[in-house]
Amino acid sequence: MNCSEADVLINALLDGELDAGHASDVEAHVASCHDCADKLASLRAVRVAMASAGLKEMAPAALRDRIERALPAASASPAGAPASIARRAAPWRLNRRVFAGGFAVGTALSAAVAATLLVAVVRDDRDQKIASEVVSAHLRSLQPGHLTDVETSDQHTVKPWFNGKLDVAPPVIDLTAEGFTLIGGRLDDIDGETAAALVYRRRHHVINLFVARHPGGEHARGGSEIHHGFNVRHWTDGGLDFWAVSDINAGELDEFCKKFTAAAHPAPSS
């Protein structure tokens, strides 16, 4: 890593926006570069000063009052409830999966210094969390005896095996003819939810395809990334979230995803 790459990444490090691998790369550079170490210290000082200056503004009471009174629900609130009291409602519940959000914005490259590097390493916390859970689950599955709960290349055996074990019915598709052999399935856990894991083999490489119910309210998205050396692909289809993980190269994993989705929709559609 050179100083011009580090320049922007130091900010991202400070903001907790780097994955563990790139964070340690930046830290290693900073440890060996006096200028960048100074910069990091200086940026920390800026942040501390800003944080302690109390820069956040409070909306004036009169403004809050005007907005409160104008909202139609004010008339539906209990009679006599003073409209001027600031309602501190329960915080908006965050949807647990915006896994692909970071990918979507990351695909448009800017001319910024090291942008090609940046978009690959910046992840939302939850993106990172799920991506790392998917990779961890993949790694767990490679331990002896953990790969499959039901071991068969027959999709008609694997599919019913999931019945009653999951609240979704994952599509189980045999892609042997396409060069990806279905070798079984198992139950796994992604982001605290039980997920189906379909296991495929390509030569001596294993592909785990995780399938879980997609939380409602979001449009289908997709994305790809490299996490700890593994290729990860995510997409949404028919109310389900799909994550494909493998150590095969990116092109082959893309091919797998394409074949899988094509087979899931026999009638050509997009």
Binding site: D38, A45, A53
Partner: protein, 202 residues
């Protein structure tokens, strides 16, 4: 100024209320309140730093909540805060365009214009305590207010509104890479301005 604000707002809110009462849906309105009102301070904070005066900031926030309510049906999550801030930002942009031909328009972008090299090298011996001692909150506010709009926006969204890079990208409708480089530039400029403040005045 305040009178003008109140007149405008009273009129626009009345119009909106009339629209709303046509097919008032208490449940929808309640959902909007519960979702949007907790972020009022955040929305106002961004308006404050973008508009740089209280009356305009209040107008912008009010217009933002009007538009948000109107378009609440089209809101599809997952997070409402970036959505509200994006609306606010658009309101402020429109306001800037309407107000004058001042070259302060938010959408103006000169990311790649040459900039004085930040005085990082001189910063070696400025410990945090020293920095805090010399620069009170007012100075910091003044320096942030003096940043060009696109850099001011980036630093406010990140360091004051606490948005993630992805959320800032969503609000400002920019690639994450641009958010990162703007933020880096914004902090460099701010730090350089602080260093300049520290220089003894002749």
């Amino acid at each position: 100024m305040l009178d003008r604000t109140q007149q405008i707002s009273a009129a626009s809110w009345k119009a909106e209320r009339d629209i709303m009462s046509a097919d008032a849906d208490p449940d929808r309105a309640r959902r909007f309140r519960d979702a949007a009102l907790p972020h009022l301070d955040d929305v106002y904070t961004l308006a404050h730093y973008l508009m740089r005066n209280q009356a305009d900031a209040e107008d912008a926030v009010q217009e933002c909540y009007l538009r948000a309510l109107r378009h609440f049906d089209s809101y599809r999550g997952p997070e409402i805060k970036p959505w509200l801030l994006a609306i606010l930002r658009n309101v402020c942009k429109t306001e800037f365009a309407r107000q004058s031909e001042r070259p302060v328009a938010i959408e103006r972008s000169d990311d790649h214009a040459p900039v004085e090299p930040p005085a990082w090298q001189e910063a070696q011996s400025s410990p945090e305590v020293e920095l805090l001692r010399r620069h009170d909150a007012e100075t910091i506010r003044r320096l942030i207010a003096a940043l060009p709009p696109q850099f001011r926006e980036a630093i406010v969204l990140r360091d004051i509104n606490n948005l993630s890079y992805r959320q800032i990208a969503e609000v400002a409708d920019l690639p994450v890479g641009t958010v990162m480089s703007r933020l880096a530039r914004a902090r460099s400029m701010l730090r350089a301005a602080w260093n300049a403040e520290e220089e003894p005045k002749p």
